[in-house]
Amino acid sequence: MASKIRRGVSLYSFQEEMFLGKMNVEDCVSFAASIGAKGIEILPEQNMPSFPNVTDAEIAGWHEMLERHGCHFTCYDMFLDTKLRNDRLLTDDEQVESIRRDLALCNRMGIRNMRVLIFVRPDILERCVPYAEELDVHMGVEVHAPWYLDHPWILRTIEVADRLGTKHLGILPDMGIFMKHYPPELRARFEREGARPEITQFIVDQHEQKVMCEYTIYEVAVKMKGNPSEVRMAETLRHAPYANPKRIGDFAPYFRHIQAKFYGMTEDCRDPAHAYDEVIPELLKAGWEGTLSSEYEGNRWVQDVMDVDSREQVRRQHEMFKRLLGETANGQEDA
């Protein structure tokens, strides 16, 4: 049976090259099309310089460009600046208004999924549900490490969605929550910054054994008298959860899009850190329909020693997706 899982990329993946002016948004889209990743996730606050005053002509220009490459939008990543002012937080009304602004722009762009930052309060989102329904945009709260699917903060959003019986509020998992192994790119960076290999090995071993992070941090910081790089590496364990992939099926009705986080792929197209080989079978088993959207975040860990090649990293991730989704070498049909 053909899977209903589609492949895409977030423009976030090419942040290094775009920041440096080596790629523009069309270069990213063109590349995505070349690897069969036709679904494009956009961060308007990164990719649209006129934000929030985006004109209809600009939106039409984006659609023409996407169509030139056979691509389409999949998801809109919103932000909420509750700390816009230094003298007070945005009021609840101001927060709702800001989200409404994003829902409206998302709808004007013809996008039906909106990534909601995880810190946005569930009661604020509850107030936004009528607008999301009217504009037919699914608000997906980003389940980002160190949160995980069963985290009580996430369950509050699920509770609101269930109570309202709405199809327009749910979640949007970031695959960083399935970090089964410690990412080699992070370890190598801490070693370049002065962490001793015997200490980094200890931290990796502790993570491998799923020891709760505070034990390891104390061991490294106090008992081993770790240097600052070693302590910083140990502290990254606070953001390195390995959530249970078997729970995916239970949550599948609440999400329509996935941010496929990764820090680096091996030459033979495997992710040494995240358990995609366990997650994707669970998605297939659940009959989940949506887009796996690449989110390459390794640039910041390797840019000190090499030119970042986001395209090659994303290409390798899609080779892995094709393998795990059972696609042919020619790539899939994309709706």
Partner: protein, 129 residues
């Protein structure tokens, strides 16, 4: 995340009269993966050879006109875009010192979803003849 790119070392230029410069300027970018409204830029701390210059000595221009750091605090209708170069002008009598010196920049950003301000830092060695 983009710390190493915050200062363009080739952009350091004296400002004011050529024989008695009043300061120097350089090109910087926002150390973040998206643009920000100017009110969320809390600090742009410039230091020469590790010595921090007063906040009042620094002014920012992203191409839409110069603005002081104090004015930025309440500027809610202007954004500094992702990857967009801006100029920092610094009052520094005599201009950037001749010879080999370090220039550093610390950006403190108020990012709402983070529990603490984001700090970005870079230090570059500048050689001026």
């Amino acid at each position: 995340m983009f710390d190493k790119y915050l200062i363009d070392p080739d952009s350091v230029t004296d400002i004011g009269p050529a024989d008695s410069p009043t300061g120097f300027s350089f090109t910087t970018k926002l150390g973040y993966y998206r643009g920000l409204t100017l009110s969320m830029l809390e600090e742009m701390t410039v230091a020469v050879d590790g010595e921090e210059l007063p906040r009042e000595a620094v002014s920012f221009d992203d191409g839409n006109g110069p603005i002081t750091l104090d004015e930025m605090e309440t500027t809610y209708d202007r954004r500094w875009n992702f990857g967009a170069p801006a100029t920092l002008s610094v009052t520094y009598p005599g201009g950037f010192p001749k010879g080999e010196h370090t220039l550093s920049l610390r950006q403190r950003l108020r990012i709402s979803y983070m529990p603490f301000p984001a700090m970005r830092f870079t230090e570059k060695t500048i050689v001026k003849e």
